[in-house]
Amino acid sequence: MDLGLTEMQEMLKNGARDFLENECPEQLVRDMEEDEAGYSTSLWEKMAEQGWQGLLIPEEHGGAGFNFLDLCVLLEEFGRALVPGPFMSTVLGGAVPLIEIGSEDQKAEFLPKIASGDVIFTLALTEPSARFDEEGVQCQASVDGNNVTFNGVKLFVPDANVADYMIVAGRSEKGVTLGIVATDQDGVDVTQLQTIARDKQAEVKLNNAQGQLLGVEGEGWEALAPVIHRYTVGECAYMVGLAQMDFEISVDYAKERVQFGRPIGSFQAIQHKCADMVTDVDGSRFIMYKAAWAISTGQSDEETQMSVNMAKAWCSDATRRVVAHGQQIHGGIGFTKDYKIQLYFRRQKRAELSFGDADYHRELVAQQLGI
């Protein structure tokens, strides 16, 4: 038993922190909120040079062959730096399903391009029903050999505005069916949504959109389980990094801000909030890594499922408590656009909602406990 990082993971973490402090400063985060594409192509290319898009991809397909827990170490740093852009959608929504269920041809075709930063992927899973379960997939899929045609509406699709391909979940007469759909076709119509985090999410209308069948027709939901697990824990890692930074900024502010002739951090009302913040951040970190560990080491399906649900249930609520305290500690300055703390507050909500909030996952925990 050991809850520390390995030497390699420490290197990954420190390297990423240094890199992102230089390459992803606050100004870039702000610029991307108002940017049409929502990401910096030069940062994207530099990240590919670091090997990050390909971190999980096996070496034979041009990646680094790291495990999922390693990726979470990186994603924690992404949350800390609020890295904007299609990294999680490409890696967790694209590379992961390809690695898990792609044919050898599909892996050979797409994985090296993901690793090199040449293509952007996303996962088109949710629909106007905004459900995360199998019933939520109602978009029509019709399969003809290795081709699949989709008709329907996907909603809250991350980074669809810049994605080259999307992995679409549809439903044929045999059940949930997945396909790899190129976005540069007439049958794909993307409309960007203005969101709380000013990230890029979209409505995607599929009108006879053509794609390659991914996996087996009708078995798409089962195939998505490892993808949803990883994406969900990835969101937790992002929230942990985000909350850690929000907490650090707030503690620093409490040391500097003087009222009644003394730093507000000397008041117990503020101190106790800070103590609760670090408890929540640390609690989130370990429950997230436990889920990442269960996935990486191939623990039983039951244990993995439970640990993923526990992680998202806990991190969703705990990190919200952290960013709410962060705002309160900052007082008036905190709710101005110019000050940075609100950047974390708004992004926490996006991640909290992604793949189900605390109540959704708590319900799944309760079901697994049999109650």
Partner: protein, 408 residues
């Protein structure tokens, strides 16, 4: 990161579990036939019990542990401890807690011994340590006073030098288990002129010394875990000072800095929440699941389950840090605060589940669900956020010592 034992750790775990399975006296084995009272008052009370079978159980269990050198697993070997590594101690504590086996030696093993090993003279060590290890002498701690709780350093019990003795007058309170103890270690004021942290000495004394009176305090759960201890011209030799005179505050803080992971709490709450879940799922007579508020109840149960998992991770973190040579800072305060607050939430959820039945106090009542465990825990978890540094003090410590916020 790894949440599993290494092969060596797994082997040691099996050794401990097998030992407990083979040697734990029947009286201490979990089960409905054993009363909750036995589980809470434990070994220290049993060894002074009028019930011969209780006394025999306490002696047998101490003997069994002593054979393995496991009464003081964390003490160095040269002082008769087992010299276990940090990780082995953790596994030992885990398995003891899983079996609900009572630790032997109480405060002598956990607090006084380790402090004496650091600060005591060779004579003091030779006199006291073997008697702790043999189970011959049990210790109680005299720190708090009626007017010195969270602000412990303001303590006023006076020890005035008279030749080779100190003469002590004053009062201690919350002296846990003093009614079953043989010796007392106490913080007393030996220099009232000095700044408050610098006029305190750490004294040990026989609890039967004339002038020393122990009076149990009946708590809100009708139990007597704590006492008041009164000093009226109690004469104690100056050779009973541990460490330097007037440096007792720092000697005492060695004890408090002796970080504990809190794993036994996590294991107890896990056992409790699992039993609650099993009850809700299997009780054929109950209609809990048909109640209108069951959705809220089941989410509360799930939350408690989550919190216990978070608490486990906090405990694992402490031992991971120690195992890699780091010294925990605010982390131990997080464990105490979060663990005690989880305990109270768990009791609240349990009483919520059973509704009106949570009125029932007696574990023997035929109507009592789960032996009325939650009702009694609801009352008995109240002190948990107060003793050993209240939740507020823990948050102060986290904020100032851990996060570097300025003291108020």
């Amino acid at each position: 990161m790894d949440w599993q034992d290494s092969p060596e750790q797994a082997q040691f775990r099996t050794e401990v579990a097998d030992f407990i399975q083979a040697r734990l006296p029947e009286r201490y084995r979990s089960g409905d036939e054993n009363s909750d009272e036995t589980q809470t008052t434990g070994w220290q009370a049993d060894r002074k019990s009028n019930d011969p079978s209780a006394k025999e159980s306490a002696i047998n269990w101490a003997d069994a542990l002593a054979e393995k050198g496991w009464i003081a697993p964390h003490w160095p070997k040269e002082y008769g401890g087992a010299g276990l590594s940090v990780m082995e101690q953790f596994i030992y504590n885990q398995e003891m807690a899983k079996a609900d086996a009572p630790p032997v030696g109480g405060m002598g093993v956990s607090l006084l011994g380790p402090t004496m090993i650091v600060h005591g003279s060779e004579e003091q060590k030779a006199e006291h340590l073997p008697k702790i290890l043999s189970g011959e002498v049990a210790w109680a701690q005299g720190y708090s006073e009626p007017s010195s709780g969270s602000d412990l350093a303001s303590l006023q019990t006076r020890a005035i030098r008279d030749g080779d003795d100190f003469v002590i007058n004053g009062q201690k309170i919350w002296t846990s288990g003093a009614q079953y103890a043989d010796w007392l270690f106490a913080l007393v004021r030996t220099d009232p002129e000095a700044p408050k942290h610098r006029g305190i000495s750490f004294l040990v004394m026989d609890i039967t010394t004339p002038g020393l009176t122990v009076r149990p305090i009946i708590d809100m759960g009708w139990q007597e875990p704590f006492n008041e201890t009164f000093f009226e011209d109690v004469r104690v030799s100056t050779s009973n000072v541990i460490g330097e005179e007037n440096r007792g505050w720092y000697v005492g803080m060695t004890l408090l800095d002796f970080e504990r992971s809190g794993i036994s709490g996590a294991i107890e709450y896990e056992r409790t929440i699992k039993e609650l879940i099993e009850y809700v799922n299997s009780e054929p007579e109950n209609d809990i699941k048909t109640r209108d508020d069951f959705e809220s109840v089941r989410h509360q149960i799930a939350d408690r389950y989550l919190e216990v998992n978070v608490l486990f991770n906090f405990a694992f973190r402490i031992v991971s840090m120690q195992n890699s040579g780091m010294v925990p800072n605010y982390e131990a305060s997080v464990n105490k605060m979060f663990g005690s607050e989880t305990h109270q939430r768990l009791a609240r959820t349990g009483t919520k589940v059973f509704g009106l039945y949570s009125n029932l106090w007696s574990e023997e009542n035929e109507y009592a669900p789960m032996r009325s465990l939650f009702t009694r825990d609801y009352v008995r978890s109240v002190p948990h956020t107060i003793f050993s540094g209240s939740s507020e003090i823990q948050r102060n410590v986290i904020a100032t010592r851990g996060l570097g916020l300025p003291r108020g």
